[in-house]
């Protein structure tokens, strides 16, 4: 990790420099429109090498999958095969245009058509749309579809969405965007949806339920079929949040258990890189009830030619053009390299790795829910008075590991949510477990080491409260 302070590009600027050479005009010049032009363009002036060093040095201030183990729960930080990048950066993709027309985009359309079919098969659905750009965007698609399905049947009073208390914040935030009211369903003692509470909440004002399976507790929802039946019997529909699909590819198909619509995070399960925050893809797939309601356009095949078409009763368009296409190429490449046996091996290994880590640390790091986990598990970091999960997380950095997800899900106090993924070796898992156990010892013997961590980073803990109170959001010269 690069520990030296790195100036801002603005602070490296010197008048007259430029990092890119551009040609002189090869056409007669046309007078510029006076009165409409800006006087000043306050951007930095830096040469090419300064730019290269600056951004390379910045990159060295990141932990990443390519450099460190990154067991961030619910984020599925698996290795992103370099073949994905090679495939996505082919000139035939990079230099082609979304409005070139079907005749001139047969390769892109065929790839999308095939990817739709593969994801439909993996999830057990009927049709898919690749429009949504991220998981939350897919949630928006799904909830709009559910809303429109009810309204098209003349049922205008269904304005409530049921959401388990372990859900991601995007679920309730999505419901608010479409004017739905959120009803929180508690978890039972076993970490599953409390069936009695669910039954009590169901009435003719409920549009449906949003369910994440496996849940953010890393637990498979054993009653998934019962839940779907209860909701369907009450006239509602079931949304599946596919955030944790990595545990079940090739092992269980959500569509088979009655999920009506689900988003897939291609940037998690299907190994497209997270890019420091995106781009992702939150494509959605739907079963019988909602297939016609998908956002569009979607890729179709007619007389051996590929084209785009809007689904019959669809909710419309969610972004310009055809989804995050470059991400789709990566996911397609990955699925083709795995095939069906590879997808099963992937999920099996993700679950095996998580259970292995859990077995190695659970005597020291207590669990709120003790049963066998899927691809991740949630431990607690409050086993020594005065030491918190935050301290443990920051101390892990000193050992060269990215911290797990912390303080989520909200129903587990001092949560440490650990997801190793299938791409890590047993040796890496051993080293991480050893570090966790060592830190637990330090928590008892030298707690100051934890409180002052991390010690090996370019900056220590930053004052986030002060930063939010008087925000500085841009360089001010």
């Amino acid at each position: 990790m690069n520990l030296r302070p790195e100036p801002l590009a603005y602070e490296l600027s010197a008048p007259g420099r430029c990092g890119a050479a551009l040609p002189e005009p090869d056409v007669p010049e046309t007078a510029l429109p006076e009165g409409l032009l800006r006087d000043d363009l306050p951007l930095p002036e830096i040469d090419e090498l300064t730019a290269v060093r600056h951004f390379t040095r910045l990159s060295q201030k990141n932990y990443s999958i390519d450099t460190e183990f990154y067991p961030l729960g619910s984020c599925t930080m698996k290795y992103n095969p370099k073949a994905n990048e090679a495939a996505a950066s082919l000139p035939g993709w990079r230099t082609t245009h979304p409005l070139a027309g079907a005749e001139f985009s047969q390769g892109a359309l065929e790839l999308m058509y095939r990817l739709q079919a593969m994801l439909v098969e993996i999830g057990g659905f009927k049709a898919a749309s690749l429009q949504p750009a991220a998981g939350a965007h897919g949630e928006l698609a799904g909830v709009l579809m559910i809303r429109k399905w009810h309204r098209d049947r003349g049922d205008l009073k269904r304005v409530k969405m049921l959401i388990p208390d372990s859900a991601h914040g995007t679920n309730p935030a999505t419901c608010s965007m479409v004017g739905f009211e959120t009803v929180t369903i508690p978890s039972d003692a076993d970490g599953g949806v409390d069936l009695a509470a669910l039954a009590a909440a169901l009435d003719d004002t409920v549009a449906g339920i949003m369910i994440t399976n496996p849940s953010t507790l890393g637990l498979f929802e054993r009653n998934i079929e019962k839940i779907a039946k209860l909701v369907h019997d009450a006239g509602g529909l079931v949304y599946g949040d596919g955030a944790n699909l990595n545990a079940i590819t090739g092992i269980f198909r959500p569509g088979d258990a009655g999920i009506d619509v689900m988003h897939f995070n291609l940037h998690k399960t299907f190994s497209t890189p997270h890019g420091g925050g995106g781009p992702g893809s939150g494509m959605v797939a739907a079963g019988e009830r909602l297939a016609d309601y998908l956002p569009g356009p979607i890729a179709v095949k007619k007389d051996g030619r590929f084209d785009m078409a809007m689904p019959k009763a669809g909710i419309g368009r969610l972004k310009a053009f055809h989804g995050n296409f470059g991400v789709l190429v990566r996911a397609y490449t990955y699925i083709r390299m795995l095939g069906a046996p590879g997808l099963r091996r992937l999920a099996e290994t993700a679950v095996l790795n998580a259970n292995y880590l859990k077995a190695k640390v659970e005597k020291v790091y207590p669990l709120k829910y003790g049963r066998g986990c899927m691809h991740e598990f949630v431990a607690m970091g409050n086993f020594v008075e005065g030491v918190h999960t935050l301290d443990i997380a920051k101390r892990l950095i000193d050992y060269g590991f990215h911290p797990p997800t912390i303080y989520f899900p909200l129903i587990v106090p001092e949560a440490l949510m650990i997801e190793p993924t299938e791409t890590e070796t047993r040796e890496t898992l051993d080293a991480f477990a050893d570090a966790l156990l060592k830190i637990a010892e330090e928590a008892r013997t030298e707690p100051e080491l934890l409180h002052s961590a991390p010690h090996v980073t370019p900056v220590g803990r930053l004052d986030e409260v002060a930063a939010a109170r008087c925000p500085i959001l841009c360089y001010r010269g």
């Binding site: 590009a9 046309t30 510029l32 409409l36 363009l41 002036e45 830096i46 951004f55 060295q60 201030k61 990141n62 999958i65 961030l72 073949a83 993709w93 230099t95 245009h97 409005l99 070139a100 047969q106 892109a108 593969m118 057990g124 750009a133 991220a134 965007h137 809303r147 914040g169 995007t170 935030a173 965007m177 004017g179 637990l219 998934i224 079929e225 092992i251 088979d256 890189p273 997270h274 890019g275 420091g276 925050g277 995106g278 053009f321 055809h322 490449t333 083709r336 390299m337 095939g339 046996p341 095996l352 292995y356 047993r426 980073t457 900056v459 930053l462 004052d463 925000p471 500085i472 841009c474």
Partner: protein, 441 residues
């Protein structure tokens, strides 16, 4: 399997530690009759096999690297300095997550802060966020933000000449809410002068979908006098030359940022840019990086103002956005720093000169006429024969002449939207003119 490393012997050793007899026994919670479906998928391929297959698919698309390319309409063929993808593809950027642990994410966080700074300079606003999915969703969220800002005002006013796909996206986002969309056909100035008290915002496209660059001076004052907000959706390359939306008084700015160092990529991933005057920053959705310091006084950067966001506020959040377009933003950041003050202006000037040369050449052709409005890099051409037939004929010969408007408006059969950037040589422009002439015979 190269990226699933644990072998069968690792598996046995790990199962012994777990105390389970088999991997299958880890899946006992899944209903038995639903376990292990037979998936009908094509057989697995090795890396060399899949790359061969994908190369063949990629080669079936029309490419701006082998054609004379004049098609824009929301996705633009601009120059990308080699260092942009070279650095953005470094694993430390590519394979990092959202920077929730700031001490080990200073690279990403400082890059966001630098992007916010440079994009803010370009747009003339103090506060930018770290990105939306694309220009269309950024504009949709901006309209939602304006509507939230003025409860009770139930109309948003959009230009008729807004990208048709953007309008569709805005309709999708607004459909469940009690907000009506009204369109105006004339200039933003005329629309601003006749705003009624139901309007939450006026959107101005800068330039509009047909390439016209409207004079926006005075528009903000008229919009504010009507109690509404001014949202300006701008081409960031145009801003290398033209007055910034902030200088013109815009309250919220949005853009499609693909042109800043990102390839056309069949339409994605692109970059939704959004910013606002500083008084609206706490009402703006999306991730935002801010400056902070540690106990020793060292400067660092964090994600800030997160009390607006879904992971803190859940159903009370301003938006559900979580993953954004981080890597695309990084490319824009590197692009802006590399071209900088002098380079971006030069790109804009080249677009201006070449587009105006092309328009003049096309105007000379018999039967063709070119818009008289002020334009920047894209302009409307009336064609003597249906524009779609010109498009099909020419594109098959690798001269991609622009967008036939009949693609979106079936009755606008004889109009072609031509885009010229710094990437088009005089030779290509002359070829376009000669080809148009021939195709119209």
């Amino acid at each position: 399997m190269p990226f699933i490393p644990n072998t069968d012997s690792d598996r046995s050793r790990m199962l012994a530690v777990i105390g389970k007899p088999s991997v299958e026994s880890l899946f006992g919670d899944i209903p038995e009759k639903l376990r292990y479906p037979e998936l009908d998928l094509p057989p697995a391929l090795s890396e060399m096999e899949i790359l061969r297959e994908i190369e063949a698919l990629a080669a079936k698309n029309l490419s701006s690297s082998t054609c004379a390319w004049f098609l824009g309409a929301g996705a633009y063929n601009h120059f990308i300095p080699s260092l942009v993808p070279a650095i953005a593809s470094r694993g430390e950027f590519l394979s990092a997550y959202t920077p929730y642990q700031p001490e080990v994410s200073q690279g990403t966080l400082q890059a966001i802060f630098e992007y916010q700074s440079m994009a803010g300079s370009l747009f003339g606003v103090e506060a930018m966020n770290a990105s939306h999915y694309d220009g269309a969703t950024a504009l949709a969220e901006a309209v939602l933000m304006a509507a939230r800002n003025a409860p009770g005002r139930e109309t948003v006013v959009l230009p008729a000449a807004l990208h048709p796909e953007y309008k569709e996206v805005i309709r999708t986002y607004l459909e469940p809410l009690d907000v009506k969309i009204r369109e105006y056909a004339g200039t933003p100035a005329a629309a601003a002068a006749s705003l009624d008290p139901s309007a939450a915002c006026l959107v101005a496209a800068y330039p509009d979908f047909e390439g016209r660059v409207h004079d926006l001076s005075g528009v903000a004052d008229a919009v504010h006098a009507a109690g509404a907000l001014l949202v300006v959706h701008a081409d960031p390359i145009l801003l290398g030359l033209f007055k910034s939306p902030g200088e013109l008084g815009a309250d919220i700015v949005t853009a499609e940022g693909q042109a800043l160092g990102n390839a056309m990529n069949y339409g994605g991933p692109f970059l939704g840019m959004m910013g606002a005057a500083s008084k609206y920053v706490r009402k703006m959705p999306g991730r935002i990086a801010g400056q902070a310091s540690d106990a020793e006084g060292r400067r660092g950067f964090v994600l800030t103002l997160s009390a607006r966001e879904q992971h803190i506020r859940r159903e009370k959040a301003l938006s559900n956005i979580c993953s954004n377009q981080g890597l695309v933003m990084l490319q824009a950041c590197i692009y802006l720093a590399t071209l900088g003050k002098n380079g971006l202006r030069k790109v804009a000037e080249l677009c201006w000169h070449k587009a105006h040369y092309a328009a003049a050449e096309i105007a000379k052709l018999p039967g063709f006429s070119v818009t008289k409005d002020i334009f920047f890099k894209e302009f409307l051409v009336k064609t003597p024969v249906p524009a779609q037939s010109i498009y099909d004929k020419l594109s098959r010969r690798c001269v991609v002449p622009g967008l036939p408007l009949s693609r979106y408006w079936p009755d606008r059969t004889h109009e072609l939207l031509v885009c010229v950037t710094e990437m088009n040589t005089k030779e290509q422009i002359d070829l376009l003119a000669a080809s148009l002439k021939e195709a119209s015979k």
